[in-house]
Amino acid sequence: MANEHNKNSERPVAEKGEHIIARHLIDDDAIKEEKNLVIDGVDVSGRWNTFIETRVDSEFDRSFFGEIQKTVVGSRINRCWQCGMCTASCTVTPLYRRFNPRAFIYMMQLGNLKQLKKYVDVAWRCVGCYKCSQRCPKQVNPAEMMEALALLIKKYFPEEIKSKHQLTIDEEVKAIYEGMILGHGRLDLANLHTSAMRKMGKTTELMSDKDERGAIFKMMKDGRALSVLRLGKPHKWHKSKDAIDNYLRHAGTLEQENN
């Protein structure tokens, strides 16, 4: 170990906070170390000046709240009362536990960028299934709030997006999207749900259980299933479809925007 550090002389200090006991408990950002530092004539360069910042939040930054509120997708941020129905409904959370729409909205409400920054790698993973928005008791529209979050992350953490986390759209997700949107004119929840379940390896839960089948039968009978099917395609769908087709042909890929 020691040898390695000596070789790597361009680093400010050997390994940030390496001598801190229980180093794993402390975030990188909370550790301050100066390569060269002299205080009152005493040279405390290197590990001697290691300083752990307090982890107590010292402000609620409402300017940030205001910024979100001004966007079309984030306008209802003041409605959220942190019940968790969105996270409970979410297609993605079971796959990435760290993707938590409720918690993200809370961080946005309080302007806690320090926390948000930790989730740059997952914060964009919303698949737009709108299950959360359908169930949110306050009609916050958390699905669109995730869009506000994505925009915000792009604005505040451009470096993190580029360097740390290679953000690429998963091929499978892309295929589902293109298939659904072009084929049906809207996101197909059943399809999304099924593919998410498959990804989690929960194949047995998919319709195999007799109760589940019974449930579906009952829902057909009392009309609940029908109300879902009745949704249909958007008005004058072929026009939108042509536009999307056209875009895809020229852009080549949905990823273009992100790069």
Binding site: M85, T87, A88, S89, T93, P94, N100, K138, K218
Partner: protein, 347 residues
């Protein structure tokens, strides 16, 4: 000559109003659409009432007895108001019951048509009526009233029970933005009753807020401190079938910040209170107003909560919003006093 006053609805509020008026010597006509008096507590066989867990019979049975034995009260069961019109300062109504139609003139009117339980089947995420072991608080109240605490699917003691609060209340999505006020207290009461019956059963309450307001808080503390009822802060978004005849609650534990999918033997939905079809029906028939929550509108929510917007027509009980039996009884008395004053002035 004695005053004539019409009381519509024979629940706790209507019964109490009728009894108080009858004791003042008023000729009361008490019109109830069901085949029995006692309202929702009777219909769903409430056995023990919050806050003090006294037998419901002490309250509801007692009110029914007093009303039935009072000759100043003319009782109409399986009845309804067929038509209604104003007649100067008085009111004329046709009462239709099993014994035929009767037209009567009244000096004033009290509406005490109460509430209906929110039907959880209308909110598909809870899978109510899809699985036998998903029931709601009124079902459990009735089951316990009949001495049955077991799982509907197999008649056995449940190993664990999930109680889910705010079903059909505080939810724009279902159209009810208000808090139903009693369901938290009913839920902790039922948790206690379940634990007293089956001490081995684990009971969990999934909540956003626990609103056991005022002294009802005692029951909440008791549920936790004497019966180890566990509260979990988070909502359940989906109920599906699980292994070994269980139902899985999928939700988020907002304090631990993470999703859960936990199998339960029984799920109890704390469904709230609604104005029901009777509130708009009364509003139309009597020419009074509905409020934005689907209950009957009070003239002034603070100054005169027992008055409708029409002179001579008074309101009592859960027809103006969710409330406990004690409140319904208090309002029955207040409406009786107001209806009496109005009748006295104009007869």
């Amino acid at each position: 000559m004695a005053e004539n006053i019409l009381v519509i609805g024979g629940g706790p509020a209507g019964l109490h109003a009728a009894i108080e008026l009858a004791e003042l010597g008023v000729n009361v006509s008490l019109v109830e659409r069901d085949t029995f008096f006692g309202g929702n507590p009777k219909k769903f066989k409430y056995k023990y009432l919050f806050p003090d867990l006294q037998p419901a019979d002490n309250v509801i049975g007692e009110l029914i007895k007093r009303a039935e034995s009072n000759n100043n009260i003319k009782k109409y069961l399986s009845a309804n108001i067929e038509s209604f019109k104003e007649d100067g300062k008085k009111f004329s109504a046709v009462i239709k019951s099993s014994t035929g139609s009767e037209t009567k003139t009244f000096d004033s009117v009290i509406v005490a048509t109460g509430f209906e339980h929110f039907d959880p089947a209308t909110d598909s995420k809870y899978s109510y009526q899809l699985f036998d072991d998903v029931i709601d608080i009124k079902d459990l109240e009735r089951m316990m009233g009949e001495g049955n605490f077991t799982r509907p699917s197999n008649g056995k003691a449940p190993k664990n029970v999930a109680i889910i609060l705010c079903v059909g209340s505080r939810d724009r999505h279902v159209g009810n933005q208000y808090c139903s006020r009693v369901c938290c207290t009913v839920s902790v009461k039922q948790a206690i009753e379940l634990k007293e019956h089956f001490p081995e059963t684990e009971v969990y309450i999934f909540y956003m807020d626990i609103r056991t307001y005022g002294f009802y808080e005692d029951l909440y503390w008791k549920a936790m401190e004497e019966h180890d009822v566990q509260i979990v802060k988070g909502r359940v978004a989906e109920i599906t079938s699980g292994p070994d005849n269980t139902v899985i609650c999928k939700g988020e534990d907002t304090l631990l910040r993470g999703p859960f999918e936990i199998p339960f033997d029984m799920v109890v939905l704390a469904s709230g209170m609604e104005g029901g079809p009777q509130s708009p029906e009364m509003a139309n028939k009597l020419g009074i107003e509905l409020d934005e929550h689907g209950f009957l509108k009070q003239e002034n929510v603070t100054l005169s909560p027992f008055k409708s917007n029409k002179d001579g027509i008074f309101l009592a009980g859960a027809c103006t919003g969710p409330k406990a039996i004690a409140d319904a009884i208090v309002e029955g008395g207040a409406a009786a006093m107001n209806a009496y004053i109005y009748a006295k002035k104009n007869s």
